[in-house]
Symmetry: D2
Subunit: 138 residues, 4 copies
């Protein structure tokens, strides 16, 4: 399926006094890549929250390979490692946009909650949305 990785321009407010991007921001970029991917998969996260579907983060991890600097353009590529209607897992690769140099890898896992914060099977409750996403599993 066609998919464009997220392009993100590194902002000044994302740097810290080590003069590189603060490591917590990569976790934010992973989220940015998820919403970007969901837009392309045909169901935006904003739309899902309107339907009462919440997708909290259960775990997140990041491995920093080389730090990013202010003004750089990075690509954040997302791979769907798992999407079974109960749980979803993603992996991420952050690369400098021009050189394709690897800067950071990461993972996140998620479940689905309804408006009352109860676990939900996306597969049972919203099979059409589930189908939209499940075919992206690598």
């Amino acid at each position: 399926m066609e998919y464009q990785p997220l392009e993100h321009v590194v902002q000044y407010y994302e740097t810290d006094q080590m003069q590189v991007v603060h490591h917590s921001n990569y976790v934010r970029w992973f989220e940015e890549a998820r919403t970007h991917w969901m837009d392309q998969a045909g169901m935006s996260y904003a739309r899902m929250e309107e339907l009462g579907i919440i997708i909290p983060v259960l775990t997140v991890s990041a491995k920093y390979v080389k730090m990013c600097r202010f003004g750089e353009r990075v690509l954040v590529d997302l791979t769907v490692e798992e999407f079974n209607g109960i749980k979803a897992a993603f992996s991420y690769q952050v690369r400098e946009a021009d050189t394709w140099e690897l800067r950071c890898t990461g993972t996140s896992s998620h479940c689905f909650l309804d408006r009352n914060n109860r676990p939900m099977s996306l597969k049972k409750k919203y099979p059409d949305i589930h189908e939209l996403f499940v075919k992206w599993v690598r």
Copy 2:
């Protein structure tokens, strides 16, 4: 009335590559000082939101006198400039805790909304809460 200004320890993640606190964080410290003051005034903001009272920011301003650095302790003092039940206005002074050196001044103004985002007169709807705050006006 007795009141302790907010004490805040400057965090690494608050710095930017100019090796000082990123200017946007002072706006966050103003908010931190407001919630700290509300706690002391006897009505926490968390409690107000439970009652369905939202206090959005209408305006904010900051004047940067001298930048703060990682590891410093700062005091954020708040003055209630106006609190009339329809609108509230505050001013702020950020000082280094030991030397009392002025680092930043600022202002913010606010109104009160109900759960449906409609303007509310705190004075009419919650006169007891209004009374708690109004006596702090300088």
Copy 3:
């Protein structure tokens, strides 16, 4: 001169529990608009810092008209109100990208410092860079 206002997609991590963008983030968007404008004016801020030119924020203000929500696309338009080689002042307008609806206005003022944090006349020290920017003053 040709100029494209910054386009910014509102991120989940920019929202707060009022379910709109936290007000401090608009101050970050103003910065994002400044760097975006400098790129277009022919001298990136990253490049200026390499030359040892620091542009701290002296004052900032924001007036919130209508709050922005997750998933919206906003345009942040910048006007150069003043640029005299000693000081620079900008104004900002944040609008929803499709409807052009006004969400927030703001201002910021700045000076120029050298590597030793001493005030610098950009006009005297880097007249070519000064010339690049000064013609944008409205």
Copy 4:
């Protein structure tokens, strides 16, 4: 050795529209706990950076057990899992301060760099600082 875990009051600006703390902020709290621990161990991170010792993050992970809310007080406890002068590894537990309820666990690993971003053996270069920290390894 005596040690007080970090106490952190959850700020409004740390929440997101899920009405809980945005997951990226726990990674910031881990950092806050590290600097807090270093202060107590007798060598602040601010002081180390003055000496030219940079401690970048190599990996970070977080497992979210139960989300934190605005106004809560949390304790962030840190355990030194490894500190051998070349590499350091920490684990974290975030708990609600009154109930001791577990909210989040995490890990981070780090190396030491000199001013030129070259790997450094803290043990060889600054044995006294190394000694200060190494006795905290569990």
